[in-house]
């Protein structure tokens, strides 16, 4: 099997567990994001793949070969660190040429490759500039160029954009994605910003509480979160408790019943957690409760210009609905309003 395979990978520091039960198959040529809150073990996982941390258990295989015991400098992976770690005592050209120098590439070939890469990142005139004289975005690009100079099999990025300001970050996200696609290089990126993951990744691996919570494409994860953790972390959501009533219905705390697609294996009376995304809720003029249309009261309104967030209290649950100005009809706190929860938009989350 080609690609990178992690099997039962785990890491302990003494009695504390950093990450465990990691089983992943990362196909070639894709951009994979390790996404999760801080402390969930995503950086540890990346560093284990890089060879900068040892494995406490499990195996890492690349194209069938076990690389778990290979030292970092023999793995031929490119890595961009959070602090970029450009060598301050070398110029831009020397930094990029360093991996080639280590591999005994001739001076002429080194020069040619450096020129080629600088052209790729559009910094051709910076070849002799000392690193300290570059801007944040320029350093970012040099770090990436240096990492791919030796044509590594895998590119690893550790929160590469966290030090940049918002506007630069967004343009770099696109640039990195385009570069990765152009080179068709397998890339693993660690981030805690779910919007970044959604923008850039082919595959998202959601990590939480030291284990893998879900693996899938960004849209899969958004539309069909595997559990409450993922639902809560990706996008904003309305997660509320309910009781299974049988016959494809659930009961809300306030007493009303909703028709939802529910697995028949769920026992009547069982407590479940439900998810509905704010943009799926429909607000309308107050009418009596019927089917999946509940009557409630507005408790908070937030008009951010492009969208309006309305918080409604109904049937013992607080829902936040998202609407555009043309959909809205001027609600304020205290107004009664009807909220429709379309059945197909409601998701049961595994407990």
């Amino acid at each position: 099997m080609t690609g990178l395979i992690l099997e039962n990978v785990e890491k302990h520091y003494g009695s504390a567990c950093a990450v465990k039960d990691v089983n992943l198959h990362l196909p070639e040529g894709k951009l994979v994001c390790f996404l999760g809150p801080s402390g969930c073990g995503k950086t540890t996982l990346l560093r284990m793949i890089a060879g900068l941390e040892t494995l406490s258990g499990g195996e890492i295989r690349l194209d069938g070969e076990d690389i778990g015991h290979t030292p970092a400098h023999q793995r031929n992976f490119g890595m961009v660190f959070q602090s970029l770690a450009l060598f301050p005592h070398m110029t831009v050209g020397e930094n990029i040429a360093y991996p080639l120098k280590l591999r005994g590439v001739s001076k002429a070939d080194q020069q040619a490759r450096v020129v080629e890469l600088l052209e790729l990142i559009q910094l051709s005139e910076m070849i002799d500039r000392p690193v300290a004289k570059l801007s944040g975005g320029q350093r970012q690009r040099v770090a990436i160029a240096r990492a791919i100079a030796s044509r590594p099999k895998i590119l690893l990025l550790d929160e590469p954009l966290s030090a940049l300001d918002a506007k630069l970050r967004e343009s770099m996200q696109v640039e990195i994605r385009q570069l990765q696609q152009r080179l068709n290089i397998t890339t693993i990126m660690v981030t805690h910003d779910q919007r970044e993951a959604m923008t850039m990744a082919d595959i998202v691996v959601v990590l939480g509480e030291h284990r893998v919570q879900q693996v899938g494409t960004p849209i899969e994860i958004y539309r069909h979160p595997a559990n409450e953790f993922v639902a809560d972390f990706i996008g904003s959501g309305n997660i509320f408790p309910a009781t299974a009533l049988g016959n494809g219905k659930i009961g809300l705390p306030g007493g009303d019943a909703l028709e939802v697609p529910i697995c028949s294996s769920i026992v009547v009376g069982e407590k479940v957690k439900m998810l509905i995304r704010p943009e799926d809720l429909q607000l309308s003029h107050p009418q009596a409760t019927a089917g999946n249309r509940l009557l409630g009261k507005v408790t908070f309104v937030r008009d951010i210009g492009a969208t309006i967030e309305t918080t409604v209290e109904c049937s013992g649950v607080s829902f936040t609905a998202l609407s555009t100005p043309c959909q809205g009809f001027g609600l304020s706190i205290g107004n009664p309003v009807s909220v429709t929860l379309p059945a197909e938009a409601c998701r049961v989350l595994s407990a």
Binding site: G51, T54, I67, H69, T70, P71, H73, Q74, R75, N76, R103, G104, V105, E116, L120, S150, R151, P152, K153, R182, L183, N184, I185
Partner: protein
């Protein structure tokens, strides 16, 4: 541009396991040369310990506690108490003087002034103790600067004896160990972020209050370290009491030397040496205990 895997492998050598030496072993290998030299200190202590229970004439083979018994004689006890007292007083004075200097140093912005300050602070520590004692001889002598100044101010009528007694020695001790107090305190104060002072100011504290109630308590570990260093350094001070005190200020280190030359009483010298070592270690341990607790307290609140 196509992305091809590199045709030359990174290293032609076969894959080695990562399990070489454990990090602990590796670290201690790096530390071994220094530990070797520091080990000399440990060995020296043990050596001196052994010698202190030897007898004169049969130094390595004999065994007796006579040297320690000798230390309990009033002459030596006085010397021990004198040493401890002078060390303690000098530590207190040095720290008190060091605090404003350390504070200024930690808040300076101009690099040039900073360098002057640092040079001025380091000089007393590094420059030959001998030379500085000579300078003190000039300052403290009957015709010296201090006496002339005091007489000029009308505070005294005749020159006072500052040399060859405890006062002169005390001044010398404070001055030479002063840098040992300043550096840790300055380092601690630099660690007290300016934002704390600014926060206190917004809550209504005056500059003096801010200093007393915010900066000072937060720099306590540095202050204790400074006091400890000065105490330990001065307890074993040799040149200063020798040159500035003459025969009148027999601090322990001078005692040790006297036992060797002219008395050639190695066991007695060693016994005094052991007392010095024990005192030093006791102070260091105590201070480490106190600063450890405070440091944990500070860290917990951040």
């Amino acid at each position: 541009m196509e992305h091809q895997p590199l045709t030359h492998p990174v290293v032609a050598a076969p894959v080695r396991t990562n399990r070489g030496v454990s990090p602990t072993t590796r670290a201690w290998i790096f530390l071994s040369p220094s530990m070797l030299f520091l080990g000399v200190l440990i060995a020296a202590s043990l050596l001196v310990l052994r010698m202190s229970v030897g007898t004169k004439g049969a130094e390595w083979t004999g065994f007796s506690l006579a040297s320690y018994a000798q230390l309990l004689e009033p002459y030596y006890l006085k010397s021990l108490l004198l040493t401890l007292r002078l060390a303690l007083i000098s530590a207190v004075i040095a720290v008190v003087l060091a605090i404003p200097v350390a504070y200024t140093m930690s808040r300076l912005t101009s690099p040039f002034v900073r360098r002057i300050f640092l040079a001025a602070v380091l000089l007393p520590l590094l420059v030959n103790l001998l030379l500085q004692s000579y300078g003190w001889l000039v300052i403290l002598g009957p015709g010296g600067m201090l006496n002339q100044a005091l007489m000029g101010l009308g505070l005294i009528k005749r020159p006072i004896m500052l040399l060859y007694n405890q006062n002169g020695v005390l001044m010398g001790l404070v001055q030479t160990a002063f840098p040992l107090a300043v550096l840790p305190i300055a380092s601690a104060m630099r660690g007290v972020a300016r934002t704390y002072e600014e926060a206190a100011a917004t809550l209504g504290a005056s500059r003096l209050q801010v200093f007393r109630q915010v900066v000072l308590p937060m720099s306590m570990p540095g202050i204790i370290t400074g006091a400890t260093l000065v105490f330990a350094y001065n307890a074993s001070s040799f040149v200063v009491p020798l040159l500035l005190g003459g025969r009148r200020v027999p601090m322990l280190a001078v005692m040790v030397h006297d036992q060797i030359a002219p008395l050639m009483n190695w066991p007695a010298a060693s016994a005094a040496g052991v007392v010095l070592i024990v005192t030093t270690l006791a102070i260091m341990t105590l201070s480490e205990y106190i600063t450890g607790r405070r440091r944990r307290m500070l860290e917990a609140s951040q």
